[in-house]
Symmetry: C2
DNA sequence: AAAAATATAGGAATCGATTCCAATCTAGAG
DNA sequence: CTCTAGATTGGAATCGATTCCTATATTTTT
């Protein structure tokens, strides 16, 4: 048994602490801490000695201890409404890259479409003492929302959400202008019965799209048939059954706008089931479809906004907030990209 | 200014600590801690009093302090190779649900396809003292991998990866059997030139698919044309250009197997560009395509494995590991689902 | 050369919890 | 009625870092 632990002083299961480094370098805890956190007023000799020992021992600071004592974690929490939506993952990715560039790490938590889980997630981030939060909320009328925004104790940036009675940073897209363009373009081609299927009213994008939709109809002197509006959930099944109903009507719409991935999927399935071809039998515009689906559906017209820009901008607003800036709102423009699926005139 | 802070004793920016609760309830720190962590040997009177005060003050424990002292965080880190792959998000979602059911929370970190970032992510999870790690590795030959597996200080579960020289838990899919079935089915229809386009060799799924592919060719007494094999990256652009090359050959393949999302996208684009229709001009089988794309492409044959099962199983293995179980490997079966895209006989 | 200013290093308090140990209290046994 | 075992509670140490304060070493100024 002699020499068992001779090679390394580390016992299995024991983790190297700053104390081990201090002993190894024959220095005080405070000196080691100063070296490792890059403080000034440290002699070159001490710096080299400590760094060498820390390296040799494979020292990695305990983030919990650091955060506890110093109050900062250089960690940002990203609360995502639904991790399976590829749009969110693109935004999250871009955001994380920007944060990383600035020395922050990002942890992602999924709310799985539930305001209850979202509430738990906010609580968890508070307990974890993250330095900031970026969130794509499940709903703006969540009963927990106000409390979570008020008690966060750190800067928050919302993604595509508006909470009017609170002064809070947000990155929002100008959906309405893109939708306006799209509708106008369809009207020019002779369409007058245009269906809009989109998420529920308790989030900003829906309301904002509706705004552009309404304005376009006004400017074109067209009535909006109330049954052409389906506002009530991002659910693909909902969009599917609603589209089927619309298609079976005597005065079926000649054009469809799909708000979000769920609507896109549901409508597509309805078309497929009825053997309807986009761009031929009916005009179709996808709102906010993801770049990666566009690779497949290269012929689908879309109202586009850049998820990368959105993610980066969110990171930037948050970083500014961390430096003490007042809450601010940043707007990402959208644009109507006309492709085959909406081109055929009626 | 009178009465400014009268309603609540909380100062702005100050967070309620266990000490505040102790003072409010006129009890010792230890008693409060015992109540809040559900220890036995606490009188009913004390329990009620402390809980009431904690509730009133809106006390939320500092997770960093808890973790520092107790050594457990009830947090699992999920390291994901590429967050934009919908297959991974489905797995992560299922995994997170199972962990949550067991009182654990999960934080997701994206490696963005880079072994360097993956290495940083492992380091971060170590510093954070998570209780366990679930990972879909970027590569099995990452220079940092061995170190990260050895120094994790917690149970690890790998997703669809094999690291043979380490005893470590994993959930892997039996890709080869599904691929075998698929190839055999194609052979029966008269195909003899079957192309396989898939990711690089440094991850298990590729090798495992290749295994099934090879075995099927042997059993069918067919040669594998080496130029029909494209093993070299999940990149859609790579798959695209390679497919174009194949299609331009004089003896072009009559069937394509696409391994993973990237290959699927690249090949689809090549088909589209050459106006080739799947199931008519050429047979096509998608390996591991995501349930959500299947909604669109209801007619595409696929080798399917259940991502939900995979995620849940990973969570279960990890939880068992936390309770002291030895590392174990769990296999998820795949099945060939024949649909229109591979049905037409040649 | 003595005094003042500054650079460097060490000691101890602290962050907010958990947990061990000892003290007190209660209840049941003898 | 006394003694002992067990239930409760409080006090203090501890986890691993940071940071403030003080003591010494070094340099600069007069």
């Amino acid at each position: 048994m002699v020499g068992d632990h001779s090679g390394t002083p580390r016992k299995l299961g024991h983790r190297v602490t700053i104390r081990d480094v201090a002993e190894g370098a024959d220095a005080a805890l405070s000196s080691v801490s100063r070296v490792l956190s890059g403080h000034p007023h440290v002699s070159e000799k001490m710096r080299i000695k400590v760094q060498k020992v820390a390296e040799e021992l494979g020292y990695e600071p305990n983030l919990n201890a650091q955060t506890l004592r110093s109050g900062v974690s250089r960690t940002i929490g990203f609360v995502v409404r639904d991790i399976n939506n590829p749009l969110f993952t693109l935004i999250a990715q871009a955001c994380e890259r920007e944060l990383r560039r600035n020395g922050y790490s990002m942890i992602l938590i999924n709310s799985d479409g539930s305001v209850e889980i979202e509430n738990q997630n906010f609580s968890l981030l508070r307990k974890r003492r993250v330095d900031g939060i970026i969130a794509s909320l499940v709903a703006e009328d969540s009963p927990y929302l106000r409390k979570n925004l008020d008690s966060a104790h750190c800067p928050i940036v919302l993604l595509d959400r508006q909470v009017s009675d609170r002064n809070i940073s947000a990155v929002i897209a100008n959906h309405s202008s893109g939708v306006y363009e799209a509708v106008m373009s369809l009207v020019k081609l002779g369409h007058s019965k245009i269906a809009l299927i989109t998420g529920s009213n308790n989030i900003y994008p829906t309301r904002n799209r509706l705004e552009g939709f309404t304005k376009a109809h006004q400017d074109a002197n067209l009535e909006i048939c109330s049954n052409l509006l389906a506002v009530g959930g991002f659910d693909a099944d909902y969009a599917f059954s609603h589209s089927l109903n619309l298609l079976h009507q005597k005065s079926a719409p000649t054009a469809f706008l799909a708000g979000g991935v769920g609507a896109f999927m549901g409508i597509s399935r309805a078309f497929k089931k009825n053997k309807i071809i986009m761009g031929k039998d009916v005009a179709f515009v996808a709102l906010d479809t993801l770049s990666f689906l566009e690779l497949f559906f290269a012929n689908i017209s879309t109202v586009y906004r850049d998820p990368v820009e959105m993610g980066r901008e969110a990171a930037i607003l948050l970083l500014e907030g961390l430096e003490g800036a007042q809450p601010q709102v940043s707007v990402i423009e959208t644009q109507f990209v006309e492709r085959d699926s909406s081109k055929g005139s009626i």
